[in-house]
Symmetry: C2
Subunit: 322 residues, 2 copies
């Protein structure tokens, strides 16, 4: 299992390469929420999302023998860029299996950052088995996007920073909203935040069509949703929660909430217009939950993670026209 | 004259209302620059630009009698929003004279923040005299956009923060690039930065067509340029430097440099794509100078101010298509 001490150890490993992203507030957002809202701007993180935290934490702990063989990863795009960047920093060759309909910016950045990309069809092929086949051929490690202790510990460093930043501001968060796909960021932040604030309520925020964590929390076991579902949130599309991540989330989360594509569009527009931040659909889910009152924020201190900002200019423009 | 101590006093006045904006760095930008680049993200400041600093510093020092009469300001848009917001916070009525072709977002935000707007034609009317006529009628104060000691001291708090943040990072800046219009931000930052780092070179960055500060530095006296000139940088269009600001800038600046509209567009695209920040044309000038090598950055620590982020979605989209 992942402990708070693993997250503290990860934060030391990450110190030289990671940005301590700002915790941003906005008088207008506070007014809308009727409380205090603090946005952890992981869209400003190196590679444009929180994923660098977990990827570097895992890659930096490979043995020299493992590192020499290179690594394989599968990712909708943000983990891809992170693994490519971490690999380049550590001198490890990286091959990334990505859906062919991933945002162009994510595919291009993955290549620019030093990764070799292998594209697949999200609706007919299984990325997991493609990656595992390549790995078996080469005898090399797979870097999973969320279901690994080192990945979870790495993502948890975002929560560690949130706690330190809240304490610098003299604020105690009542709740934290985390954009949730496989659950790595949610689980990592739940560990570090519940350790710092035993009374905090941590919520997963999912797209309406991909509410696998919500369904799983309800039944107490990992449920699967229909993967042919569509959502504007390309980064938050998994069929079922991770095994390790769900064990943690089942134990620590206060619940989960869902946002619609329109909620997410409104959040992206708000971030452009009032925060001057570029947020991608999946990265805007937690902010959308605040803006669209999917969660009670009145008289509370709410932390919401902006988990990524990798969005194509065309989609961004069409959302702004909204 | 404005002293360092005035800026320290302003920073205490501003503490409860101002955001300590982050100093952002990017491995890719460092690579392009061949040195270390630190971006002071004043686009993330309350009201979307640094202007809140000077406006609040001035308005909060009005006498109760002056405050009761309300204030007039003239502004291309960022000062307008700042004066409106500061007025609302302090219970002071504000009337803002703005060009009718100012970005819609700036006019709308000024109204939303509580200001009354009076629009004029930038090419046939003189905003200064319109504002002064209204002020004479009402017997109230004009809040000028840059040429006032309290405004300059307020803007200088951005430089004070830069110095504190560089020291937290253990870095000594060799040079600072400041987007320059009338020269208030440049002068304020020059005072605080030259006080913290006697060897620093502070440069004004202007649009090519509005290089009045560069021309004035060359001759040693305030020169005027043709106001019918056009630039994408709506926030950086003045005919001549301020009287007080130029006295300071003449004494403290290492020089001035100019950027083209295309340089600025490239910087806005870079900020969207790689920094996940929304920057307006005038706010991107200093970053443009770095990206387009208008200034030597190799092996240096360079601070560049991103001075604002108020840009209409349509223009933003058309620049991204670029």
């Amino acid at each position: 299992m992942v402990e708070s001490s693993d997250i503290v150890a990860a934060s030391k490993r990450l110190l030289p390469v990671i940005t301590r992203t700002p915790l941003i507030s906005s008088p207008l957002l506070d007014e809308i929420a009727g409380g205090k809202v603090l946005l952890k701007a992981e869209n400003l993180q190196r590679t444009g999302s929180f994923k660098m935290r977990g990827a570097y934490n895992l890659l930096s702990q490979l043995t020299p023998e493992q590192a020499a063989l290179g690594v394989i990863a599968f990712s909708s795009g943000n983990h891809a860029q992170a693994v490519a960047a971490a690999g380049t920093l550590l001198g490890i060759e990286t091959t990334i299996v990505m859906p062919e309909d991933a945002p162009t910016i994510k595919i291009e950045n993955t290549r620019r950052l030093g990764g070799t990309t292998v594209l697949y069809d999200r609706y007919t092929e299984d990325r997991d088995s493609i990656a595992r086949n390549i790995a078996a051929d080469r005898g090399c490690e797979v870097v999973p996007p969320y279901d690994h202790e080192h990945i979870i510990a790495g993502q948890g460093t975002a929560g560690l920073e949130i706690a330190a930043q809240c304490s610098e501001l003299g604020l105690t968060p009542d709740q934290a909203l985390v954009c949730c796909s496989g659950g790595g960021l949610t689980a990592g932040c739940a560990i570090s935040l519940c350790d710092a604030y035993p009374d905090i309520d941590v919520y997963a925020v999912e797209p309406e069509a991909f509410d696998d964590t919500a369904r799983s929390l309800e039944t107490g076991q990992r449920e699967s949703i229909d993967v042919s579902a569509k959502s504007i949130c390309d980064a938050l599309q998994v069929a079922t929660p991770g095994q390790i991540t769900f064990e943690i989330n089942k134990r620590l989360l206060a619940g989960a909430t869902a946002v619609t594509d329109d909620d997410v569009r409104e959040a992206i527009r708000f971030a452009f217009r009032h925060l001057k931040l570029v947020v991608e659909p999946g990265g805007a889910a937690a902010l959308a939950a605040v803006l669209c009152a999917r969660i009670e924020t009145r008289d509370k201190v709410t932390v919401a993670v902006l988990s990524g900002g990798n969005i194509d200019a065309k989609m961004f423009a069409s959302i702004q026209e909204g």
